[in-house]
């Protein structure tokens, strides 16, 4: 029987099982006595094996079968769920993932799966270390504790009491099938749907332009009704494109685990909001920034166990990744209870590096001082990491978030910990943007990046050194010309009024002067493809209602 037509479904379901298995492994490390999770792991490996066997993918069967056997020994009490078991299971997940790629590419697998199966079959836990003075591997005692303690606590009553919510959560993680009114849809179809919706939004703007010229009330009514329907259509299509955060969250758990292990720190990792839906396109682009933030939190934010105990904190540090939704915004926070950051130290480091003058440093608020870690060059310096305990690659994180139309904020209290908050739009496909005129060109700036617009009189401009500044909310804000940034002739402003918008660049508010502010538009963002996708400072393009094409500027890349 030709099974090739079922290959896409097999790959999709297998990857969901792998994701679920990886999550369960990491969760079990946190609470090894969770019987329902042990059962779920066993079932996951068993289901994977069954699916692979029916498709005659022998290598996948071998690996899944050995994982299933290992979990059977754990389930039957013959083996504790220790870090060694976790490592082997995660290795198995990685191995199957590679095998699935081979299946997908229709190439023969060259991976030796027999050795892996053999290692699982003969696995026995390492004897516990007796000497508490063994400082070489500080993570070992904690991991051993995590295994032994739940064993004594795994009384049937306790296990039963814990079972219902865990079982419920487990049920929620079962891969979705065709049953229960759900269907699997190819992602290209969803992309096509959002494209069509976007084109309709563009066309609505075109109709609005025509209606403005004709001044016809019935036409206005019809367009108004069409606009409402379009808004509903857009909302529904966007819902279809949403994917739960858990689609990417397993790698964060593993990333934290890996950094903790390497740095010899004890970390408790918490993840909330895994069910929150995010735009599929955005989800993929969040992986690297979030990984960066979490690794920073573990590697630089959380102190060594000894330091924590001396500071009166639990030896085990906590890193929390939380996702929530507030109407049409997504909030993601990474919070640690580590050493925190000291604004004054950040300012001193920036002054020492010549990024700020001492006078400019004095003008910074504590929040602005913390945002210095997002300035390119500042964050890569080793001494800053040592001083602030944070900051590796935060400029890249900030740039990636701004490119998605989001904002990044940092709060920190020395000795207590740091919270980095990301606020993101629900969708990156259709956005509201401020359209501006610079020279002969129109450009669009996502409104998320615009704090406010100002019409500034020349009299309000002060010259401080070589800089031109103006006062806003008792803060001196430097002025930049967008014309100059884009290499275009400077604007003239014969009436003495300079239109500008205020945004945040390199941790500071900046006034960006343009020739004209043309108003806010709802735009369908289109990717520019090769070669323009490589152009710094341009996030995409869009068509205005009159058919004119504008570039959507990425201010983070531009400034």
């Amino acid at each position: 029987m030709d099974m090739s037509q079922y290959k896409a479904l097999f790959l999709s379901e297998s990857r969901e099982y792998l994701r679920s298995i990886a999550e369960q492994v990491v969760a079990l490390e946190q609470s090894p006595g969770e019987r329902s999770a042990v059962d779920a792991l066993f079932r996951g490996a068993h289901s994977l094996k069954g699916m692979a066997a029916s498709m005659e993918y022998g290598d996948v069967v071998v690996v899944a079968h050995s994982m299933e056997d290992l979990m059977a020994r754990v389930r039957d009490g013959a083996l504790p769920f220790d870090p060694g078991v976790a490592d082997l299971l995660l290795e198995g997940v990685d191995l199957i993932d590679v095998l699935l790629q081979d299946v997908e590419q229709e190439r023969p697998s060259t991976l030796p799966t027999g050795d892996f199966a053999q290692r699982l079959a003969i696995y026995t836990p390492a004897p516990p270390k007796a000497a508490p003075a063994d400082q070489a591997e500080p993570q070992e005692p904690a991991a051993a504790d995590a295994v032994t303690a739940p064993h004594s606590a795994t009384a049937p009553a306790a296990a039963d009491a814990a079972a219902p919510p865990a079982a419920e959560a487990e049920k929620a993680k079962e891969p979705a099938g065709e049953a229960g009114g759900t269907v699997r849809v190819k992602t290209e179809l969803l992309d096509h749907l959002i494209n069509l919706t976007g084109e309709l939004v563009t066309n609505k703007q075109r109709l609005l332009t025509i209606a403005g010229e004709l001044a016809s009330p019935p036409l206005n009514d019809a367009i108004s009704e069409t606009a409402k329907l379009l808004r509903s259509l857009h909302d529904e299509v966007m819902k279809v494109r949403l994917m739960p955060f858990e689609a990417i969250s397993d790698r964060f758990q593993r990333s934290v685990r890996s950094v903790a292990k390497k740095s010899g720190k004890e970390i408790h990792f918490e993840l909330t909001g895994r069910e929150i839906g995010l735009d599929r396109g955005m989800l993929e682009q969040l992986v690297d920034p979030l990984n960066h933030m979490l690794r920073n939190a573990v590697d630089h934010g959380i102190e060594e166990s000894g330091d924590r105990e001396r500071a009166g904190k639990p030896a085990r540090g906590t890193v929390r990744l939380a996702v929530s939704r507030d109407r049409d915004r997504i909030q993601i926070t990474v919070r640690d209870d580590g050493r925190g950051m000291e604004p004054a130290t950040m300012i001193a480091a920036a002054v020492a590096k010549g990024i700020l003058t001492p006078e400019e440093g004095e003008l910074l608020s504590p929040r602005q001082a913390l945002m210095l870690s997002c300035i390119p060059g500042f964050s890569t310096a080793k001494e800053v990491t040592d001083i602030s305990g944070r900051g590796v690659g935060m400029d890249a994180v900030n740039a990636a978030i701004q490119k998605l139309g989001g904002t990044l904020g940092i709060e920190s209290e020395p000795g207590v910990g740091t919270t980095i908050s990301l606020r993101l739009p629900l969708t990156i496909a259709i956005i509201h943007a401020l359209v501006v005129q610079v020279g002969q060109v129109k450009a669009a700036i996502p409104v998320n990046a615009v704090q406010r617009t100002v019409e500034l009189s020349r009299r309000q401009i002060e010259n401080i050194g070589k800089r031109q500044m103006f006062q806003l909310d008792d803060e001196a804000i430097p002025l930049l010309s967008l014309n100059r940034v884009l290499g275009m002739p400077l604007g003239r402003f014969p009436d003495g009024i300079l239109p500008l918008f205020v945004t945040e660049a390199r941790g500071r508010r900046v006034g960006i002067v343009v020739d004209r502010l043309l108003g806010q538009h709802e735009l369908f963002v289109k990717q520019l493809g090769r070669p323009l996708a490589k152009m710094a400072g341009v996030a995409g393009g869009a068509t205005l209602g009159d058919g004119e094409i504008v570039a959507i500027l990425d201010l983070a890349g531009l400034l």
């Binding site: 494209n195 084109e199 610079v438 020279g439 002969q440 060109v441 129109k442 450009a443 401009i461 010259n463 070589k466 800089r467 031109q468 430097p478 002025l479 930049l480 010309s481 014309n483 100059r484 940034v485 884009l486 290499g487 275009m488 400077l490 604007g491 402003f493 300079l498 660049a505 900046v510 002067v513 289109k526 520019l528 493809g529 090769r530 070669p531 323009l532 490589k534 152009m535 710094a536 400072g537 341009v538 393009g541 869009a542 068509t543 058919g547 004119e548 094409i549 504008v550 570039a551 531009l558 400034l559």
Partner: protein
Amino acid sequence: MTAERLLLFSAARQLFALNLQEVCEVMEPQRCYPLAGAPSHYHGLINFHGNLTALVDLAGYLRLQGRPLPGKVLVIDTKLAHLALKVDAVGSILDATSITGASSHEDPLTEAVLDTPHGSVHLLRLEALLTGLEQELQQSAPNNAKPGGT
């Protein structure tokens, strides 16, 4: 080595060719919207069946002396790029069997210089062209923001 069918076109009094499969449409010049910050041989963006497509003056990119002709727009396959090339004229489709000779060329953009009944033709490497355009964009990043300038 050479594709079975090539599309011949001219720019700055030179004959060029691309693999026919790399080109999806030849159009008359159409409304183009300037793109701030791009090098001068980027005429701007055009709307090609909903795809926002960069229109590049090929002669300008190759630093050849262009001609003031309305010319033609040669749209690259949208699966490969969102790029259209402004050229002087588009000629015939050349069958590989009519190529009488081929020699290599030191320019990485040129896969080969072909001897054809129409004369000497530079067969372009599309991938090299795209990579070159991308590298140029990365190197000509916008001015770093300078203070003032109002």
